[in-house]
Amino acid sequence: MQELANIFIKSIFIDNMVFAYFLGMCSYLAISKTVKTSVGMGAAVIFVLGITIPFNYLLEKYILKEGALVWISNDFIDVDLSFLSFIMFIAVIASIVQLVEMVIEKFSPSLYSSLGIFLPLIAVNCAILGGSLFMQERGYTSIVEATVFGLGSGVGWFLAIVGIAAIREKIRYSNVPPALRGLGITYIITGLMGIAFMSFMGIKL
């Protein structure tokens, strides 16, 4: 249990998707103009990461990893399909996103109207594919750990985008040098937020 809590905290604060690895920066910059839309986008990311990472974990464990196919027959002990992981992961992500979109549309129109427009964007959000690739690289030992890692990364991304959106809403009242307005100042503020988040780096979990 403590192990899981550690993974959760670590993926939110120490290995934050945005500040430590710059994943999902494109949508982070494009959608952070108001707090309301960024909450929607952040929630959609938590949701999709929480679903795709366990799926890709199973894929990795039972199909792609070297010797993963032994559950079919011992002849496959030397088969290593990991070079296919990019295309398999992205296919899983794209189809799950499509599926989730259809399910939400059918069962919860109100959730669909708030999350719906963001879901297609998420298929090409690098935070999602990045999450799966990090999961593969770090070798989590059980599906529960992988799910917790996915949710934690999503929450970290959510915090980052809501934080920057709140700052951007306020900065509209300040006198920023014209050439720095918009994109430039957003980068620099993100950098400063990143420095703040670095203070978590010393924590050993």
Binding site: M25, C26, A94, I188
Partner: protein, 214 residues
Amino acid sequence: MSKNSFLSKKNKMLLSDPLDDNNPITVQVLGICSALAITVQLKPAVVMALSVLVVLSVANVVVSLMRKMIPSRIRIIVFLVVIATLVILVDQVLKAFVYDVSKELSVFVGLIITNCIICGRLEAFAMANPPGKAFLDGLGNSFGYGIILIIVAFFRELLGAGTLFGYPVLEKLGVYDLGYENNGMMILPPMALVTVGVLIWWQRARNEKLIENE
């Protein structure tokens, strides 16, 4: 297509525009994730820029050849399949020939798939233009991407570690004897953001039509 029309003024614009006025990173806001993460040193930045060059120009041509056959509803999936196939090829080549750099780039080679610069150009350009033009657009945009990568990596490696391509430039110049110290901050992730922010500032101060009015 005769050679003359291929290098017409309009086609030259396709190559030169993304270098400055329509730069993918600083103006179109595409492909930022990878640009920031792998610019600690020049070598991985150059390798990354070359990989994107290959993937983007080939994907642009392939999608442009198929543009009349792709149903618009499933075009994103088609894009992803084309890109993912190319990225697997690039990844295998990198692993075979420059293994150490490939290890350093870790997940970011795979993330070329979701690099929005590629999806963005396929969607905005390759779906509506013939292969020749699409190829030029791919080249132009990858140069625009590469140039920012190399500028950022140049400053981060020089100021952060005092080297260029691993060669200890500052030590040979004898700057350390004057009491200069490396700025370790430059190597850490947040300074990549600040470096790009300053780059954008400089570009917009020089080119006023790019200034945003919020």
